[in-house]
Symmetry: C2
Subunit: 173 residues, 2 copies
DNA sequence: CCTCATAACATAACAAGTTATATAACACGA
DNA sequence: TCGTGTTATATAACTTGTTATGTTATGAGG
């Protein structure tokens, strides 16, 4: 059965990118289950990372930092608040803005993720991307094939992982 | 405000790909509004293209051809059926399988899209991708910047578009 | 033939993104 | 100070993807 989305090339690049992104997120979720045992949904990771990097942020700034719409952020923050990972307080000077900050539990989770899941994902994805070459569509072909052939979880070497903060510019970009 | 998803590189590649894919789809939708005037949702285009390329297909085969799950296809087909674009008939030999085929209206729409939207999108996306170079993350940086700077609709040259069927291997891949 | 496993599709519930709009707080000019 | 416009967030409705599960049809063995 022909892969139509792949065959149409530029015409369906949007669908293609979404599809690969979802596959990556699904495999990341699997890896999270094995590694960290936390049931943290994959899209919540960037939120935690943003708060870790930048400290407390408003809803709007979080939306900008993650490049998505404000209502989406509001909903995610509500869920994370209900799980005790973040606290939301309204700003003294301007009570329209609510400031989102990591709670103690949130910070602990971040520390755990920095030591386990986040570097593991970086390495596994870097491994899947190793050897990619050529124009964009070709690299996407290669990446999609690589992910199909071997999932992120089986790309775990088992070797000791460096902590997140020490790995920044090496594997990450 | 730092773009965290971009900054985290491989660790958030899934989110990144989804984000770019959604942006592309949104801009494709805009282009569709200007060009074709049809309110066809962007994800329905690959379904039409698959049926156009392969003739009538079962739900399961469509799911394979598009690389998504069967329930998603079922729902999309139901909507397209309700809009008169496809017909669904159950197979004589095996009444479990339902065969999806373009209706007359569906075929007319496909012909229209082949003459307008599909080649236009191919060209516009190819234009946005022109000059991309380097490793995957770098090409994604460049692509995302290109889409932000100039939308697909403003990449329309206005010059005559070749018909879809004559453009296959040239711009498409 | 009847049963049971399998296969195809449908349905339901959920997740996470979007747009459009409502609400509430602020800021400024008449 | 009183509207009035703007800004920040919340809410609602929708889309489109997912998984889990139900239903019906097929086919194969006893």
């Amino acid at each position: 059965m022909e892969d139509v989305v792949r065959a149409l090339g530029y015409a369906t690049l949007g669908s293609r990118l979404k599809r690969i992104g979802e596959k990556l997120q699904a495999q990341t979720q699997d890896l999270a289950g094995e590694l960290a045992g936390t049931g943290l949904p994959t899209p919540h990771n960037p939120v935690l990372a943003a708060l870790d990097r930048q400290g407390p942020l408003s809803i709007g700034d979080l939306a900008k930092a993650l490049g998505q719409s404000q209502p989406g952020i509001t909903r995610m923050i509500n869920k994370m608040k209900s799980e005790g990972l973040v606290s939301v307080t309204s700003l003294e000077q301007d009570r329209r803005v609510s400031t989102v900050a990591l709670t103690e539990a949130g910070r602990h989770l971040v520390d755990h993720l920095k030591a386990t899941l986040w570097p593991a994902v970086s390495f596994a994805v870097a491994d899947a991307c190793a050897g990619l070459d050529g124009p964009l569509l070709q690299q996407l072909d290669q990446l999609e094939a690589a992910l199909t052939e071997q999932s992120l979880s089986t790309r775990q070497t088992g070797q000791p992982l460096p902590d997140w903060d020490t790995l920044d510019l090496e594997t990450r970009s």
